[in-house]
Point group: C2
């Protein structure tokens, strides 16, 4: 029998399969896994103080590395703490391999305090859940988990690992399994859509997921040039390449009323790795399905298809120009002066965003206007909140910085959402990650103040308003950041913000700027 | 049709059923519920920045009020964020009513970004899960949820509330349903156990749950006096009444080796609202079941039984003295001087703990010696981490303070566990809760340093050790607390700690003392 234990074989297999980063928040049942980290030097373990940071960081890592990281979580409660960001990852088809430690196989019968039904919770966010029962099987299970995670369109795979399966000898390293690659879209589908786009009817190319890299956007821009089709991106894409030299794309609006305006008059809606547009929430008396009546929805590329190749083939089919004629022109706004607002922060961002930056944005109401100020900035990646579960921005920034140590990461984070996974700052400090975080502090769940009236809730009372208010006490993000090891400053004017943001960008390692912006009323 | 909407009928029913406190972290789908708070003045809404704070606070509230509070959570991800502390509550049979908002009934089909399978996740922690489909049913569902939660032995009930069911008119307020009360234990069972205890064989009364109030302990003390039985409490009881004038009780040790010593030689083990003792985790080569071979396990009272009445009946059956002869004597240790350690903090606690205090303790390795210093302090309640999912101490303190505004709450919190739900401090500041928090800052997951060797993991490497290390950077809990609105100080000697702790106790409202104690090595 192999002298390697189950944990050692598992980690060795992960590394062989290209998974060499593990965002971890371990407990006693994971101690043999933790010990085995020292036996496999290629595996990097990164500690998080809270599991939502670990799962969100794995998401950000995979978005930028285009391959999965692992998480290490402590039984059912650890998985629960990581669930919200796994939900976000699932919705965006981000590959993640979760390793969830469990009690030893023979211990489960005693219903000890930490015993719970891990598999059922895992299934809510995972395409693949497997409990490994013997050390002989940890390697093959790990290989299967990585292949499943990496298989198109990308998914969350969860491996449940009992403690004794870790510690017993007999571990067998497995060879990598091949993942399902993206399918080539059928020529007939492309021809049909080409015909439709050339029919003269008003058409919309609706792009999401993998279509939003520069190459896909360039092909889309060529199609637009040849056909007059409109072009929109899904509201919350996982990763958009944008900036000077890249075909720009607007997003479908978050508020359904504005989205309805964007879609009005469309007769053909062509989905390119995107779902047919629906309202984010339901509102009394308003439609959930945003597709205008009489508009036909067709799919050019689904989640498992090679969307970029499909767009390029479609461009050929519509006889598009060889070069995209509508690439964004380099442009930076002036440095702003005067009051500090979400808008002036956007100007600063546009003025200063470094080339090749990665932007992790969960700015909520403050994010609505950030895009146009940065449209002509040097090329950069823009990562959004993908599944509606707030608390993703700072963990995603963390993982993106781990994946891309040579790129500057800018995290644009609303105050309310910041407080779900604020512990991310500590991991940023520990790992010396090059992240500049901007907290948009408006002392409010501002989005809910808008939504309260949009859902038609009638209230003149104070109790409802208090549920949306983040003052009383005002949070001091400079103090919180310092407490977690990240240097921080507070800006109250556009000039202060610009100066502080520029200094943070110029300094390697993490920094935070708390931007004091007006509330809604 | 009723002009009341579903949310109004639901909240009115909750209040009619005695649930008048709601720990909330709402989103758009809960806006009509939030608006309805102003229509039912008796319902208090308390905002949390993170759902784990809300669920843990509901737990602490119920432990002290002996009736459930409600939580308000935002769809599947909100429930996920609250899951760890619901796990803790489930394990200790704490009554909680969760209201989880969901998309409008007709919106689910569109699989919007926040859509997920809420009910399946809820079932992992809930005895009762119901999705309300019509506004006419919110009242009756709320009444059923409260009755289920309050039914012996106490449970988590989860009501899933689609947004349209909230906003549509037709709500009907329901009358309270009666909860299942605790059963009276059969006289034959009591006689049988009495005979056994009087047999001369070494016996142990093993108390948990509801048995650990002063009245139950007094009866147990009388039984011990009459029979020579040993007396132990479960390792992590939800609530123990203790201090001068109350029968003291030791707890079963956390580490299985020590527990085995405590149980050695026992021939009869009598369970009183406690589970038969098992090891918290499994360890290679060690037994999970801690009951010595040849020891017979009998149940005096199960979770659904009236354990206190059973103990009193058993005391009569063994012809026990009318008064408990072994009540704790009033005693306070001297104020300590010199180095600050978990032990000197215990001395300060014993010297200063106010009468009628509530202690929420999640001190982990620092908590092992706190009990004996406070054994003779004025009567107080001691609340433990009940399900092994760390991050419960500060939320439980929050809820206990809401339930008992006239009592001082002392939260004894390890540094590692603090960082899962540190957001609790903000709610404490917002509500002006009278809580003194002590952070045991040893810059380490110290328990894992112990467990790493106990599980037999062989490592001389640095990567494993780094996974257990909370320095690099050191956290500054004074800064974090100030950032969340709670005044804080740092103590590095016993004298400083005593002075700061005394001042914090003397000042109404929340305060935090960061106690810098030695690490393990």
């Amino acid at each position: 029998m192999s002298k390697m234990n189950g944990a050692q074989a598992l980690i060795r297999t992960l590394v062989n399969c290209g998974v060499d980063t593990c965002f971890a928040n371990p407990g006693t049942s994971e101690m043999h896994f933790v010990a085995a980290l020292d036996d496999v030097p290629e595996m990097r373990g990164i500690l998080a103080l809270f599991e939502g940071v670990a799962t969100g960081a794995a998401d950000g890592y995979a978005r930028m590395a285009d391959r999965p990281a692992a998480t290490l979580l402590h039984l059912g409660p650890g998985l629960g703490n990581g669930l919200a960001n796994l939900h976000n990852a699932r919705k965006a088809h981000i590959p993640i391999v979760n390793i969830v430690g469990d009690h030893a196989t023979y211990h489960a019968q005693y219903d000890a305090l930490l015993q719970s039904d891990i598999a059922t919770v895992a299934r809510n966010v995972s395409s693949w859940v497997e409990t490994v029962e013997r050390p002989e099987d940890t390697g093959s299970a790990a290989a299967a988990a990585v292949a499943t995670a990496a298989s198109a369109p990308g998914q969350v795979a969860t491996l449940i690992l009992p403690a004794d399966v870790c510690w017993l000898e007999g571990g067998v390293v497995a060879a990598p399994e091949s993942a399902n690659i993206r399918s080539t879209v059928d020529g007939e589908v492309i021809e049909g859509i080409a015909k439709c786009l050339l029919s003269g009817e008003q058409s919309l190319l609706f792009l999401g997921g993998t279509a939003l890299r520069a190459r896909g956007l360039a092909a889309a821009g060529r199609i637009v040039a040849a056909t007059g089709a409109a072009l929109l991106a899904e509201t919350f894409p996982a990763r958009v390449e944008r900036g000077a030299g890249i075909q720009p794309i607007s997003k479908l609006a978050y508020f359904a009323e504005a989205a309805v305006d964007q879609l009005e008059g469309m007769r053909n809606l062509v989905l390119v790795d995107a779902k047919s547009p629906v309202s984010f929430f339901a509102y009394p008396g308003k439609a959930s399905d945003l597709v205008p009546s009489g508009c036909e929805v067709q799919t050019l590329a689904g989640g498992g298809d090679d969307a970029i190749a499909a767009l390029e083939a479609l461009a050929e089919a519509v006889d598009a120009p060889a070069e995209c004629p509508t690439l964004a022109v380099a442009f930076r706004p002036e440095r702003p002066t005067g009051p500090l607002t979400a808008d002036t922060i956007g100007q600063t961002l546009g003025a200063l965003l470094p080339a090749n930056a990665i932007v992790s944005e969960e700015a909520a109401t403050s994010g609505f206007g950030l895009g146009h100020h940065t449209a002509g900035a040097p090329p950069h990646d823009w990562l959004s909140l993908t599944g509606g579960a707030i608390g993703q921005g700072m963990p995603v920034a963390t993982g993106a910085a781990v994946a891309c140590p040579d790129r500057k990461v800018v995290c644009l984070q609303a105050d309310g959402g910041a407080m779900y996974t604020i512990q991310a700052l500590w991991t940023q400090a520990r790992e010396g990650l090059d992240i500049t975080t901007v907290i948009f502090n408006n002392r409010s769940y501002a989005i809910l103040n808008i939504e309260l009236s949009r859902v038609g809730a009638k209230t003149s009372g104070t109790k409802a308003k208090e549920m949306l208010d983040l003052s009383r006490p005002d949070m001091d993000f400079v103090a919180i950041a310092k407490g977690l090891g990240v240097p921080a400053t507070r800006a109250t004017t556009a000039e202060e913000f610009t100066e502080q943001f520029e200094r943070a960008l110029a300094t390697p390692g993490p920094a935070l700027v708390e931007a004091m912006i007006p509330g809604l009323d």
